[in-house]
């Protein structure tokens, strides 16, 4: 079985975000880059399939040279090979453009399952994985918190508001991952894993290598684009309630009732 994990390198969730002088991007200096946590859950799920069923796990990413580090980390966790599409012409792609790049790269690979996070914690778009499935004409199951593969089918549990849905799809299929660190508990790269990862194949491709022309993706082809960024409104300094426990409790109830009118 061939499993491809789509992986994005994103700023660490501890990062303080600042807006660049151009007003529509963020300051990337001094950022610590990590694997998007939801993609990391996908890597873990893929490696469990490798452990159980001997799947071959390929990591696919689009990004600048620094993304090699994220792919190497996934290889050190146990993935078999990696591919990075690193081409300046991909910059400024919208979600559909990013999906086109990934779908083009996937068209040249064997896959039974494509896995990725349901969203990347930078742009929070919730789009790319599902769009890749559409472009490739395969079914998708989104926001998985449990995954099983048997008899040519993938089965997932998906939490929706107030309920849990069990879904299944025939392979080949796309699954996007939800849940949390506690649900997937992704493994750490071992020291021998890190050593081995250095020798694992990692191809770096240009758009032309995957059959795309520069104008098909990137800023020029984007249907939707960021025109300005702003910081969230500053919250006013709050009020610390005085008095003993009983006084604070009474005052808080009064404020929430009379002032905020919430209870």
């Amino acid at each position: 079985m061939n499993v491809v994990v789509l992986l994005k390198q994103v700023p660490d969730t501890e990062t303080v975000i600042r807006i660049e002088a151009d007003g529509k991007s963020i300051v990337t200096k001094d950022i610590k880059w990590i694997i998007n946590p939801y993609d990391e859950y996908a890597v873990e799920a893929a490696l469990r399939l490798k452990d159980k069923k001997g799947a071959t796990v390929t990591i696919l990413s689009v990004g600048p040279q620094r993304a090699v580090e994220a792919i190497r980390t996934a290889l050190a966790m146990g993935a078999d090979r990696g591919m990075l599409v690193d081409d300046p012409a991909t910059e400024g792609s919208d979600a559909l453009g990013k999906a086109r790049i990934l779908a083009a790269a996937l068209s040249g690979m064997a896959f039974d399952l494509i896995l990725c996070g349901h969203r990347a914690v930078d742009d929070d778009e919730n789009q790319v994985g599902i769009m890749v499935a559409e472009l490739l004409g395969v079914p998708h199951l989104a926001l998985a918190v449990a995954l099983e593969v048997e008899d040519g089918k993938v089965k997932v549990d998906r939490p929706i508001e107030g309920a849990k849905v069990a879904l299944q799809a025939a392979l080949p299929a796309m699954v996007t991952f939800g849940g949390s660190h506690a649900v997937w508990n992704p493994r750490y790269a071992s020291l021998p894993g890190i050593m081995k990862a250095k020798k694992k194949p990692l191809d770096v491709k240009k758009l032309g290598d995957i059959g795309l022309a520069a104008g098909q993706v990137g800023a020029g082809a984007a249907k939707v684009k960021v025109t300005a960024m702003e910081m969230p409104p500053q919250r006013k300094a709050g009020r610390v309630l005085p008095g003993d426990t009983a006084a604070k409790a009474k005052e808080l109830v009064r404020l929430l009732h009379d002032e905020a009118k919430l209870i």
Partner: protein
């Protein structure tokens, strides 16, 4: 020529979900700004009888796709049906709820239509006849404005629940209903095999008006009963920090933060949560924030409208009693 605004509704267990009324209300606002009409596409099982109600929120005309096989959301069935109707009515703007199913549907639909999509928007407006959308990035550490390329139609956006103003329903206004021809594929590659409702009937964090949330300071899973009680009295729901979920005290569905759910309730009560940056991102857009923490230096106080510096085990029972007293008198 593309014209008007179209909203796609969610119908579950015999009723439209509240978020669909929010989206319809927002759609009406944009349609008025464009000087054009508001249509809706309502897929579901048994949705036809309920469809006129969408008029209460400003919808002029509803295309219903009523079929027993559309009872539960499945992209493979919903997307072709909705895409067919959209191609026929050719709207300028398409709005969807940024709910779990709405996010799923909108992504696949946008790819099928070749449309630009802005997800989870918190503000939408029309300028010079075109849509502009504001949405959070990095779980709300920053916001970005989006515009669509000239001629890129439809302009698709999903609306974050609990943020857009919902109109006061006008029961005298009924939408015109047209039954759309529904041709579903005979066999699908994917299936819903079971849908299990949450036994407790818990309100999802993304749609809750009041959230009582607990972190590492709760000291153990057994102490969340205190928060459950307070949430019950307030008519809210319980959330948790990543530390509490990582410790196995609470289920992943309770996690608030950059990994986890980004929430926008009217009231967020943070108990024993110090306020790691990734948690603050996830709840910083709440309308009112109350923090209860022993440590006066905890970063959560920088976001709180009302701060209570006190041991939560001492404070919460007294506070819950006070809330009960208030609730019994009004």
């Amino acid at each position: 020529m593309a014209q008007g605004v179209c909203v796609i509704t969610e119908f579950r267990e015999g009723a439209f979900r509240r978020v669909s009324f929010e989206v319809a209300s927002e759609g009406r606002k944009l349609a008025d700004a464009l000087g054009e009409g508001l249509t809706a596409i309502a897929p579901g099982a048994g949705v036809e009888a309920a469809a006129p109600e969408l008029g209460n929120y400003g919808v002029d005309k509803v295309y219903v796709a009523d079929d027993p096989r559309l009872k539960d959301y499945l992209a493979e069935l919903y997307v072709p049906v909705i895409a067919d109707i959209l191609q026929k009515i050719s709207p300028k703007v398409v709005l969807v709820a940024a709910s779990v199913d709405g996010k799923d549907l909108s992504a696949r639909l946008a790819a099928r239509l070749g449309a630009g999509l802005a997800t989870d928007c918190t503000q939408l407006k029309v300028e010079a006849g075109a849509l502009k959308a504001k949405r959070p990035l990095y779980a709300g550490k920053a916001f970005a404005w989006y515009e669509w390329a000239p001629g890129a139609l439809p302009q698709m956006a999903s609306c974050r629940p609990n943020v857009m103003d919902c109109r006061i329903p006008d029961p005298s206004k009924k939408a015109v209903v047209e039954k759309a021809a529904v041709s579903l594929p005979g066999a699908t590659k994917s299936q819903v095999s079971a849908l299990q409702k949450d036994a407790k009937g818990k309100i999802d964090l993304t749609e809750a008006q009041i959230i009582v949330s607990g972190g590492r300071g709760m000291k153990g899973p057994e102490n969340y009963a205190m928060l459950e009680e307070l949430a019950n009295v307030l008519g809210g729901t319980v959330g948790a920090s990543r530390a509490a979920v990582d410790a196995g005290w609470r289920p992943h569905s309770d996690q608030v933060g950059q990994t986890g759910k980004v929430v926008t309730p009217n009231l967020y009560i943070a108990c024993g949560i110090s306020g790691a940056i990734q948690h603050l991102a996830g709840m910083g857009s709440s309308k009112f924030i109350v923090a209860v923490n022993r440590d006066p230096e905890a970063p959560i106080f920088t976001k709180a409208d009302y701060g209570v510096v006190e041991d939560l085990f001492q404070f919460l029972p007294v506070f819950t009693e006070e809330v009960k007293k208030l609730k019994s008198t009004c």
